[in-house]
């Protein structure tokens, strides 16, 4: 296979290419202020929850599943942390630990239902999304609360010129990359790519699926902690857009929804791409379109429209680079 073909067909390529394109266009519309540390920090720290959620979703998608409850997981963790620290006076560290455990537990519930009752993950997580969302409302009926200032300062700061939240992403990514070198990482993909073949090889489908969803739950919990640090408060309705966006990020990154193929690299790139698109549209408007009168009144609508259209185009091109010629129809 030629080198170009090989590059194009490896996992994550579409995400990297899209991200590159977005960076280039962003520089064009925003100018040199794009390269400031402040800008990087703001973009990356705002989007870290999405990036981490995309990593969680990738694991589930590699397993040929989908997790619609990621957003509710993040929301519930966020509300639990705020409630425990504000209402019950827990230290923020203890509250975060509890939040992480809650996230893991949520993932485990999903995993249990999906793995042992064999309910399709789309439907199961749609149902649990409601349940966890409702629980979040009970935990924290109205938005509010606060976190100690050192938490959000730490989250929003930089070390050695790199935004601190990036380190969180790196740690999470390393955990998954390490797992990939172990049988469990391989088996998660195997069950996703060809369930019957994995079963024939002696792998326990239920166990692997359970682990995949539980792991995704833990990682979503981390995203919930990040969003708590980011917004420095709690909001029981914060989650839905993250769910849809993290699924889009996974697809933009080239991971196949059918399972067995892909990786977190592409999803991370896809998530950053989404973050940049918002940025691009904003600057495009402010720097280029303001002299069209009549647009101003509907500016925010048109911006959103533009953003969504770009995302659709990004999805189309991501899927396009995935097309390979399959020769044999093999596993069941």
């Amino acid at each position: 296979m030629s080198q170009v073909r090989k590059f194009l067909s490896s996992a994550g390529t579409s995400g990297y290419l899209l991200l590159l394109g977005a960076i280039v266009i962003n520089v064009v519309v925003q100018g040199s202020s794009f390269f400031s540390t402040a800008n990087f920090t703001s973009i990356l720290s705002v989007n870290t929850p999405l990036i981490i959620a995309a990593i969680a979703q990738t694991i589930v998608v590699l397993n040929r599943g989908i997790d619609l409850s990621v957003g509710s997981n993040i929301t519930l963790v966020n509300t639990i942390v705020i409630m425990l620290s504000n209402k019950y006076g827990w230290s923020i560290e203890a509250a975060c630990a509890a939040g992480l455990i809650a996230g893991t537990f949520i993932g485990a519930i999903n995993g249990f239902i999906i793995a042992y009752f064999r309910i399709p993950s789309l439907l199961a997580t749609f149902a649990t999304m409601s349940v966890f969302g409702g629980l979040a409302l009970i935990v924290l009926p109205t938005p509010g609360g606060s976190v100690p200032s050192y938490m959000y300062l730490l989250y929003g700061g930089q070390t050695l010129g790199i935004p601190n939240s990036v380190f969180i992403v790196i740690v999470v990514a390393l955990i998954w990359l390490l797992l990939s070198k172990y049988p469990i990482g391989k088996h998660i993909r195997a069950v996703g790519g060809a369930e019957k073949s994995a079963y024939t090889a002696g792998i326990s489908i239920a166990k692997v699926r359970f682990i995949a969803f539980t792991l995704a739950g833990t990682i979503s919990g981390v995203a919930g902690l990040c969003i708590t640090a980011l917004t420095a408060s709690g909001d029981p309705k914060i989650g839905l857009s993250i769910t849809l966006n993290c699924i889009a990020a996974v697809i933009l990154g080239g991971t196949r929804l059918a399972g067995g193929w892909g990786g977190i690299g592409g999803s991370v790139a896809g998530a950053v791409f989404l973050g940049l698109v918002n940025n691009i549209v904003f600057f495009f408007f402010n720097n280029f379109l303001t002299h069209f009168s009549g647009i101003a009144s509907r500016a925010s609508f048109i911006q959103q429209l533009l953003t969504n259209t770009i995302i659709i185009l990004g999805l189309a091109s991501a899927v396009f680079t995935q097309r390979r010629k399959k020769r044999a129809k093999i596993a069941t």
Binding site: K181, Y182, P183, K186, R189, A190, G193, A194, K196, S197, A198, Y199, T200, A201, G202, I203, G260, W261, R324, K325, K326, R327, A328, K329, I330, A331, T332
Partner: protein, 507 residues
């Protein structure tokens, strides 16, 4: 070493296995034979742990065992290479071979990549697999993928090996190499069960055979005590009628008739490289060749389901280039694929719907359908083709493979066919259905329809064709009429030897 007694397996009302038995010794190669639906694959799946049995005893070396999962099966020393393959297409060959028993490093217990690579390389060399260990399985052609499946089973170092129709996609030399390896392993004490439809393989490699029919074991015999007709009798209950090959004159006369289809210099990507063929009216033209030499692609280019790059197709005197099967059907061309699972049957739809789909598709998109009339016509067709069904409102998945294949004929029969294209239609079909299909084809030609049939079974083509062309690497390698000396020429041509001065136009 292995003894199966009283094995029962039921799916709803269907008894796939009914009191079946099998005996196997170490160092023995036993064929497991039977028509489609006789229960062979079911028995394989029970032994492999993919299906649970309803009743029966399985004992290994005298000890009764329960096989509750594929893991159990492997731990008991059984390895199965499945017909529909148990590989993960998105993984490499080496990852597939070590799936479920990955070698681990000593310290951190990560997956040991060097050992993974070495093991894959070993089996690739042994079975002469034409691919590197890091190749993705989804990019392999069917024959290579089948060999990887066998390699996987062998890499488990089993005591009992079961091969379920693995030779279906293999080339002649691949089969020979496989048999060499099997003989080696047999000397070392491996017990082997081989499921196959090909009689030449049975007599070449098997020591003994167990024959199933309708889920029951008919008998167990030693191969040296029987001949082919005996096996057919056990499998079907009927003695096969001797057939006579038509005389050369009869075949030759047909070439004097008018040409229905004339293909000139057809090119399709790297699959078809300048093929020219003429089909005369009422003639059966067989396309022979190993799998993947371009026959399938050629047929589909003619049918219009894929677009060809260069060349001309003249049908009934007019130059055509069908843009979709719909156009071809409109002009009286039918297509029947042997891969009924992927390309033919709608398993959850009724038999009636399966038969009428083409007719319905040709009408306007939103016209109403007369279900009563459809029902009546379906009954007629089912009768005419002797399809064994419960009722026309049952789903097509309730039929056996051979009967499903006949449904596909029924679909085409609703039209006034001038030409029918067949892509390996009897692959995996039991012998009596196969004979019936051959007769259907012969009857078709009596009413003037022409038949262009590709088959991986050269004996089948020798039986029914008037003329045969051989495809090799995308070109027509030989063209011959059928007589007593054709077989040897045919096999040589299939392997690439140029047997006569046949020159493709413009080659």
């Amino acid at each position: 070493m292995l003894q199966i007694k009283g094995l029962n397996k039921q799916f709803g009302n269907v008894k796939a296995l009914n009191n079946a038995y099998l005996n196997l010794r170490a160092g023995e190669i036993r064929g497991l034979l039977g028509s489609n639906g006789s229960g062979k694959s079911t028995m394989a799946k029970v032994l492999g742990g993919l299906m649970f049995k309803n009743a029966g005893d399985i004992s290994i070396n005298g000890e009764t065992v329960e096989i509750g999962s594929p893991l159990d099966s492997r731990e008991r020393g059984i390895a199965v290479a499945y017909q529909d393959l148990s590989l993960v297409p998105q993984f490499t060959i080496e990852d597939n071979l070590t799936l479920g028993r990955e070698p681990r490093t000593s310290g951190w217990k990560r997956i040991e990549r060097k050992q993974t690579r070495e093991e894959a390389t070993k089996w690739i060399e042994k079975l002469q697999i034409n691919a590197a260990p890091h190749t993705l399985v989804e990019s392999l052609d069917p024959s290579t993928a089948s060999l990887v499946e066998v390699a996987k089973a062998l890499s488990w170092n089993p005591k009992i090996l079961l091969l379920d129709e693995v030779t279906a996609c293999l080339h002649h030399d691949q089969v020979n190499r496989l048999f060499e390896v099997l003989r080696e392993l047999k000397e070392q004490g491996l017990a082997i069960i081989i499921i196959t439809h090909r009689f030449d393989e049975i007599f070449k490699i098997c020591d003994s055979a167990t024959i199933l029919r309708n889920g029951e074991t008919v008998t167990e015999i030693d191969i040296k005590d029987v001949v082919e007709t005996d096996l057919v009798y056990y499998m079907t209950g009927k003695r096969p009628e001797p057939f006579s090959r038509k005389s050369t004159e009869e075949h030759a006369k047909k070439t004097e008739r008018e040409v229905v289809l004339s293909v000139s210099d057809l090119y399709l990507r790297d699959k078809v490289k300048g093929v020219s063929i003429d089909v005369h009216q009422g003639e059966i033209l067989g396309i022979c060749g190993l799998q993947g030499q371009g026959q399938s692609d050629f047929l589909r280019a003619v049918y219009g389901s894929v677009a060809f790059d260069k060349g001309t197709i003249t049908y009934q005197g007019k130059s055509v280039a069908f843009r979709s099967p719909k156009d071809a059907i409109r002009q009286g061309i039918g297509f029947i694929s042997g891969d009924r699972h992927a390309e033919g049957i709608f398993p959850d739809r009724t038999i009636k719907e399966n038969i009428f789909i083409s007719k319905t598709s040709l009408r306007n998109l939103f016209s109403s359908v007369n279900t009563k009339k459809q029902a009546a016509t379906t009954e007629e067709v089912v009768q005419r083709l002797n399809v064994k069904i419960g009722s026309i409102d049952h789903s097509a998945s309730s039929l056996s493979g051979g009967n499903q294949q006949k449904l596909l004929f029924g679909r085409n029969f609703l039209f006034d066919l001038k030409l029918v294209l067949l892509d390996d239609p009897t692959k995996g079909v039991d012998i009596s259905s196969r004979r019936e299909i051959h007769q259907i084809l012969r009857d078709l030609t009596k009413t003037g329809t022409s038949v262009l049939i590709s088959s991986s079974d050269h004996e089948e083509l020798l039986e029914i064709s008037d003329r045969i062309v051989v495809f090799y690497e995308g070109r027509v390698n030989a063209e011959m009429t059928v007589d007593e000396h054709t077989e040897d020429l045919l096999i040589s041509a299939m392997l690439g030897v140029r047997v006569n001065d046949h020159q493709e136009a413009g080659a």
